[in-house]
Symmetry: C2
Subunit: 439 residues, 2 copies
């Protein structure tokens, strides 16, 4: 099972098989250590545990089977890529490896040390040839959402085919018009790769499949976060499920998430929670959490907190909106609908981005959360600078907030745990004081 | 003289007068220590020495006199701002303070520590109210060339009126069209501030004045850099002259630079150099050098090198191109010409930006330089990541290159000096070896 039985395939797509096998074994060990010991996990997690064991095994075989059938395989680093079009063409659109510290040193032979660890990790995976997803990609679809990525594509293009989507700085009418054109151009590029025209009906079919995936994740989000007294699944498991959504076969995945949600609904009815009563309910805000970056979740949930939502690109920002295809009769109309959906994403790359703060406050209240952690990857200027206005607004609302900036090195794990502990204690103290005052 | 006699004015525009006076005295001391002792300076530097003493004195009085006459005063942080339009309206367009370490700590109360020192310094000047240029501005005209700036404008807008120019990520035809619209919108904004229509003839007059300034700086650039055996002025003085160009009255400044160039032409004819023969001739590449950031120039020219060019926004990128107004008969045509000129700037914010590398190699050969220093401000992702492809191309050409990343703190001055010394030694050794080999 796992990568062992796929060695030949991995070698054929240029993976450094031995190094890859070692890294996968380490990743799987880390997963086992951090995930399997959690108390009272839902039965439905068995599928995601299995996926982890086949994350660069069977899934890679499936993707390469699609490629053999001339279906496109597109690697991405951003949720602005309209995966509906790739899915419509019968292909696979997936997030590339970029959450590991093990590739950072290699990346630093070509990139500055003081840029975002996600970018360095991803670039290092390509230099090392230890990400089977990257190696399986017809092309990598980059974008311009951050300047370190924007400039790294120029270097990455020395090693792998890269196309760049131009995401604007602002969301004025003319910016959105250009955005729509980018989506139309992406479709043409997918047609070139698959050497086949893509019909409107096929694209609408793609949208429906991605909508179904997002709806399943919305269901999970509500089940884990909207029942203040019952948390039927851990934040760490929920994060991993979301992470898998960037790699798995879309229909199988949607089905498995829905099956799990059926189980969670049952748990909510029966009052089965994986956390004790009065566990502080924490929302995570900020930058993406690519696997195996489970650092913050492990820190919070091993020190008496529960994470009930990720206001993140691997999280709520990814699945919160569906594409309305009702009454669409032309390709241009479809591109407009896609653009409308994607431009609702409140990435910190936009200026202004005021809607994000209002949304966070609303989410906090709806979920009856107890505090937020504003998490940024080191050197992510957009989220890092935006933290000032967001945390200022949170302070006005009296919302407890901890700001954590971190990279992928294990060195700050202890310090983060200490800070999280103190933060959770201050929340618990506040809860007790309020309970006492209201007696 | 200096700020003392303008205390009342400074107070009236909200300057923290006492703190400002102390900072100006420190700045002037630093200037005296680093500039006045240079051997054999051109007589024409007397004007620029005087300007330094009045940099936030008489010049501020002049700007506020313009404002009293309803002429616009626009503060900027980027050479993409079309100053021709402000000059056409009879106003002043100037670079804001952003080169000092003394304001960084204040800025860090609202901004992350790990962003570019120029942005932090500028933001700190506003928080401290110690930059009389910022205080004199009708508005600050920001842009989207880097994400730390783009997001900082949102915070700066709490303290001062800010407008943002959208500079695109790419230079495709549609991006350039939008760029042209931004210029037209800027003109409308200037009209609002000055409460007066701005005619095509006035704008063309503005272009001619800015062209004349740029031509004077091109002349200086050729005189200091294109005569391999004679360097009639130091790199540090040349840099300061360029820095003054972002603040001074445009017509007086152009005249003074031309007068100085007359003197330098005389020096070239007579063989008067401020450096000994065989002094290594160094080009600086990279990010802007805002006053009083003279760190690299001081390090190089105090250890036996000469700086012959700044491939920088406060340097060659700023003055290399003029605007062709020949035959312009409509405003749209003028905006198109402005856009054409400005879009030639090879800022690392663009992707791709390959033209920059070719230009650097060409400049190097034309100037018969001996080496380059690729200088980036800390955390400037665009120039920092682009360094990889640039230095790779330089290595192919056999061009000696030293990469220095630095902020405004004095702490790394010693380390930089040591690295520069070793770099200059290696160049001298190479020169001697070549001379020996050719005997």
């Amino acid at each position: 099972m796992g990568v062992e039985q796929h060695k030949e395939l991995l070698g054929s797509i240029g993976v450094d098989v031995d190094r890859h096998a070692k890294m996968m074994a380490m990743g799987l060990d880390a997963y086992k250590a951090q995930f399997l010991g959690q108390p009272n996990r839902p039965k439905g997690m068995a599928y995601f545990d299995w996926f982890m064991s086949e994350i660069q095994g069977q899934r890679i075989a499936e993707i390469n089977q699609l490629r053999a059938e001339k279906k496109p395989a597109v690697g991405t680093f951003c949720i602005f890529v309209p995966e509906e079009i790739v899915v419509g063409a019968g292909g696979a659109c997936y997030g590339l490896c970029g959450g590991s510290n093990a590739t950072v040193a290699d990346a630093e032979t070509e990139l500055p040390r003081n840029i975002c660890p996600l970018i360095k990790s991803a670039h290092g995976f390509k230099l090392q040839r230890t990400c089977a997803y990257t190696q399986s990609s017809d092309f990598i679809y980059g974008e311009t959402t951050c300047e370190a990525k924007k400039k790294t594509w120029e270097i990455l293009a020395k090693h792998h085919p890269v196309h760049v989507m131009n995401i604007p700085h602002m969301k004025r009418e003319k910016d959105l018009k250009m955005w729509q054109e980018e989506i139309a151009e992406f479709k043409e590029h997918i047609e070139q790769v698959s050497e086949k025209k893509l019909s409107l009906a096929e694209m609408i079919e793609g949208v429906k499949k991605v909508n179904a995936k997002r709806s399943a994740l919305q269901r999970l989000d509500a089940l884990r976060g909207m029942n203040p007294d019952i948390m039927p699944i851990s934040g760490k498991d929920s994060l991993f499920i979301t992470q898998v959504g960037f790699m798995d076969d879309i229909e199988r995945y949607t089905q498995k998430v829905n099956e799990l949600c059926d189980e969670l609904e049952e748990r909510v009815r029966e009052g089965v929670s994986v956390f004790p009563a009065n566990t502080p309910r924490i929302m995570i805000l900020g930058t993406p959490l690519a696997p195996p970056n489970w650092k913050i979740h492990t820190a919070v949930e091993s020190t008496g907190g529960a994470i009930i939502n990720e206001e993140s690109c691997i999280g709520h920002r990814y699945y919160k909106d569906n594409v309305d295809v009702e009454g669409v009769t032309s390709e241009d109309e479809l591109y407009a609908r896609l653009m409308q959906r994607y431009s609702k994403i409140d990435c910190a790359c936009f200026t202004p981005n005021t809607g994000r703060t209002e949304k966070i406050v609303q989410m906090y209240k709806e979920r009856k959360a107890d505090g937020v952690i504003y998490y940024t990857l080191s050197f992510c200027h957009t989220y890092n600078v935006e933290a000032h206005l967001v945390t200022e607004a949170l302070a006005k609302e009296g919302i407890p907030c901890l700001v954590i900036e971190s990279d992928y090195s294990p060195e700050d794990a202890g310090q983060i745990k200490t800070r999280v502990e103190a933060f959770l204690e201050s929340i618990s103290f506040k809860q007790k004081a309020q309970a006492f005052a209201s007696k």
